[in-house]
Symmetry: C2
């Protein structure tokens, strides 16, 4: 294999065109094979095989610095920069992360998992280079889907004025995660139609020189274009047209389903894993579709993740104006929701915990100061969500529960979630966020509250004594188990509370607990600092009540899965019951028995 001889980008330099093309085919096969076993960002990586080879052929990484936006298309780069072994094996586990990582290689400059940051990072690298009087090339490689993020525009707006070497490769595969949205998409289409000649060029309007490469999956024109701009002293955009999923028929045909793909059978394209059964995505989809049919003022907004609520292409089409995919633009999604609510619509934003981080100010300034009754559905805010350091869902409670006027709800099961969602859609008084449980879908046969307007009212689900467990959201089932275990081990029944609201405490309940409780234990699926539990601790700060807060340490973990995280943070019955035992001088029932 040609690939056998590639251990660093330097090894490409002497290759013939024939060898480079063979290398591309080999890498494509390696990727398809590996991802059929391990899953991964399938479409983006197959599309950029030639562009990655051409970049490393022309430029001199790591002196020249290439920043891959969001890193979903960095696998080929990793293969070419000394990490091919991680892709050339049949292990289910990856030996590298799915994102660029300075810990792995000197060819990676940032750990990146959110989109639209590459141009601004490149502006910074370029400015530092200029301050030091160096001359290397700085290259940002960004997809058409990521161009819709406001930060990418800010980067272009500043970069276009910098009058220095700054090369932006726009990888246009005419897809975001799902179908592309926003006017830039239509604009890129126009540029493709006119082979880059269309009037009103977006990139030129922002001060960039502009080159168009029609055959972005052909190494020759790519090398030509990159060579032309190498060592330029100007900000320049190279618009390359590539095909997402290139070289694998199923992915070429259905790019949305193959943006990311779980392990699959290469022959049939079918998932290897079993159907995982009922889940919150599809349950909520059905619920929403029913409501939306009855009430045309309900409008679902998503920043490029429509499948977060199970809205496939057919459903999206059918919903018409009641659905809007704003592209990767979380800020706009939230602020537009404020506008919809103010003019009498019922907006529901669907996104992930980690991505709402990009809309902190929009939640605070646009939604909450104005008390616009929008609903934000928060997915993957959990140790059971994503595990990459750039996608952790551990911070949203600390981020959102301290914003005035917001009602942030933590449902503990399916029925409660749907009831909260229903209430939120119908009410007009509060901006509401709902943290979708992330442990597997749980049903209850007990009646659930329909009206959540009595804000901060928690529910005692087991009335006990001595110890009260406040088990938040998808940690509630853990609370149930611990309650029973405490009864079994120590012979008394503790109180179990479903807090329901993360944005405030139930003072009445907290006062009442003082009567026959000595200890409150809080359990939350997020960092302890700034979170829900500390609100309770602060309330009890001057009282005799002891409080123990359990949750995650404030840190960026990378790849750690839920069981590890629970263990590492002492969120286990063994640890918690031990803390409790010491604090309350408890003795296990059997010890008591043997002594008496």
């Amino acid at each position: 294999m040609v690939l056998d001889n590639v251990n660093s980008p330097k090894d490409l330099k002497g290759f013939s065109l024939q060898q480079l093309e063979t290398l591309a085919e080999e890498i494509r096969s390696v990727l398809i094979h590996k991802m059929s076993i391990s899953g991964g960002h399938f479409g983006p990586n197959l599309g950029v095989v030639e562009a990655s080879i051409a970049l490393h052929y022309v430029f001199n990484s790591p002196i020249d610095k290439i920043i891959f936006d969001v890193s979903h298309q960095s696998y080929v780069h990793k293969i070419l920069t000394g990490r091919k072994d991680a892709y050339m094996n049949d292990d289910e586990k990856w030996g590298v992360t799915g994102f660029t990582s300075p810990k792995e290689s000197e060819h990676d400059f940032f750990s990146i998992g959110h989109t639209s940051t590459s141009i601004s990072l490149a502006c910074g690298l370029a400015r530092a280079r200029d301050l030091k009087g160096n001359k290397e090339n700085i290259i940002a490689f960004i997809g058409d889907g990521s161009i819709s993020g406001g930060l990418a525009f800010e980067g272009l707006n500043v970069g276009g004025e910098m009058n220095t070497n700054l090369i932006v490769v726009v990888n246009d595969n005419n897809m975001a995660i799902a179908d592309p949205h926003g006017a830039t998409t239509l604009h890129l289409a126009k540029l493709r139609e006119t082979k880059g000649q269309a009037r009103d060029n977006y990139f030129r309007s922002l001060g960039f020189d502009y080159y168009y490469v029609e055959e972005g999956n052909n190494i020759v024109p790519l090398i030509k274009a990159f060579s032309k701009v190498k060592d330029t002293s100007r900000p320049v955009v190279i618009h390359i047209c590539t095909q997402k999923g290139r070289g694998y028929a199923f992915a070429e045909k259905y790019p949305e389903g193959w943006h990311y793909h779980a392990p699959f059978d290469i022959e049939t394209g079918q998932n290897k894993g079993a159907n995982t059964g009922e889940n919150y995505g599809f349950t909520v989809r059905d619920f929403l579709l029913k409501k939306m049919e009855k009430d045309p003022s309900i409008c679902v907004i998503t920043p490029a993740v429509p499948m977060s609520c199970g809205f496939n292409a057919e459903i999206r089409q059918k919903l018409g104006k009641q659905f809007i995919d704003v592209g990767i633009a979380e800020e706009h999604a939230v602020t537009m929701a404020a506008g919809i609510a103010k003019n009498g619509g019922k907006p529901i934003v669907v996104s992930l915990s980690t991505f709402y981080q990009r809309a902190y100010d929009q939640i605070l300034h646009d939604l909450c100061i104005n008390k616009c009754a929008a609903t934000l559905l928060v997915r993957n805010g959990s140790i059971w969500g994503d595990t990459d350091e750039t996608h952790l869902g551990f911070f949203d409670i600390a981020m959102m529960s301290n914003i005035p006027n917001l009602v942030y709800l933590a449902p503990t099961n399916c029925e409660e979630y749907l009831a909260m969602l229903d209430w939120s859609i119908e009410q007009n008084d509060y901006p509401v966020a709902i943290r979708i449980p992330c442990n597997k879908l749980v049903h209850t046969d007990k009646p659930v509250e329909k009206d959540y307007s009595n804000v901060n009212k928690s529910v005692v689900t087991i009335e006990g004594e001595k110890v009260a467990l406040f088990a938040l959201g998808d940690f509630y089932q853990m609370g149930e188990k611990f309650t029973q275990a405490i009864k079994d081990e120590f012979g008394f029944l503790p109180t179990l509370v479903n807090p329901r609201y993360m944005t405030g405490v139930d003072k009445y309940l907290l006062e009442r607990l003082k009567e026959n409780h000595q200890l409150v234990i809080t359990l939350e699926d997020g960092i302890v600092e700034g979170g829900y539990g500390q609100k309770i601790t602060s309330y009890y700060g001057a009282s005799e009540m002891k409080v123990l807060n359990y949750g995650l340490k404030k840190e960026f973990t990378d790849g750690a899965k839920a069981p590890q995280l629970l263990q590492r943070n002492g969120i286990t019955y063994e640890n918690i019951s031990n803390d409790m035992k010491q604090l309350l001088f408890l003795k296990p029932v059997w010890v008591g028995d043997s002594v008496s």
Copy 2:
């Protein structure tokens, strides 16, 4: 006066051109007179007198909905919509807020104080209108300075695809708060030069129809342009050229100084207030300039607020590449800083507490996951900062102190601030934020620590007993006063701690305090929930130590000044000593004396 007959926009409808022009002159006089007494956003409002009149002449507010971006130019709108009395008096106080406010008028739809939100809000209003089958016009009025914010782009990107009535008036006065920056600025200049004919039109590239109005301070062409697009079924941009500070010679000549202006003498343009003496802005400016001269790798970045560190036009010019104003683009400022740090530069970002809210994810994802050693200077994070509900500096501790890897410092005086800044610039291990004190500049003659790499190490400044006060940042002087008052009243000396770090607690110290203290009191200039004090409370949750957290309630206050806020939140010696007394069964010394 013509103005006497204007109590609602309806009253304009029958006016002749002559009357409208007279009205413009009258309003301009009213504004100059009122702002000479009360101060205000001078330049932006004088520039849009004619445009505001023309908008209300052509459109039918509040059925047609006009959204003023950032609201700095909404005074004329307020005068025309029933609030003229607030401007036609000699009171120093305003009878209205400086921002649009739905509490004041049905013609205001949102409370807005941050830039770049108007187009997204308008998209939302338009979508709700379309869902309901209504037909009103939706107008966003946005300045060239606000166009640089990523959210404004996201709004255009989505709006340009919406294919519905959405009118964006771009008010181009060729100024941001200071001189304008970013490629869009150069682009607007090109459009002005070519009377709107330049190739590569930014707005057209994003799917908007485009109209150019050269004389934006002339009512006739404005009315013509607005009438042309009224009831359009397309997204359209009307680019109007206006003059910031129009009609007042000093403001026309020096628009940066007259963006906002304190009360002044109309004849001379001089400030009425006295020079307020030494302040952190100028002290830090001198410090930075000295350091930057010695070290060319230091680069100061500001999102459109260069005067936050005292950098006037002359200094900016002199600093060359060591300074960059990125326009109103906080996200980019932080992410670019990450890039500069990664390539060996020493970036310092200067902005305000309320504006860092727009960069939460950039601080977390770009700066902190990557541990880039950038310095963020945080201004106005305080009850002594801005008082408008949209500009409160109460949330940054809760927002930033819970982000992993960040070191958030709270200096208590000038010397400590400069030492922290110096350390931060020179170190390579941490992203650092520093909260600039907001009580008046305080000096110390005691030596201050030079090395802050022993993260989370607090300092005991008064070694006492029974009660320990943790007085954070600019509440430290309050802590000093309370310490002395406690000694005077109760006869024992409490311990006083300067926490220094807001991102973690000093566990060693907290353990040691258990030996001879029963109560810890935390004082912080921000909301209690999610803040620094709750970290201490959580640490002590299971111990015998009592903790009382003092700070602000989680709420949006509007216009409340520091003394009111302290009173309302019980941050007074009277209240705190009373809580302490009850908790520790203390008796004042004189009572003790009289009993013995």
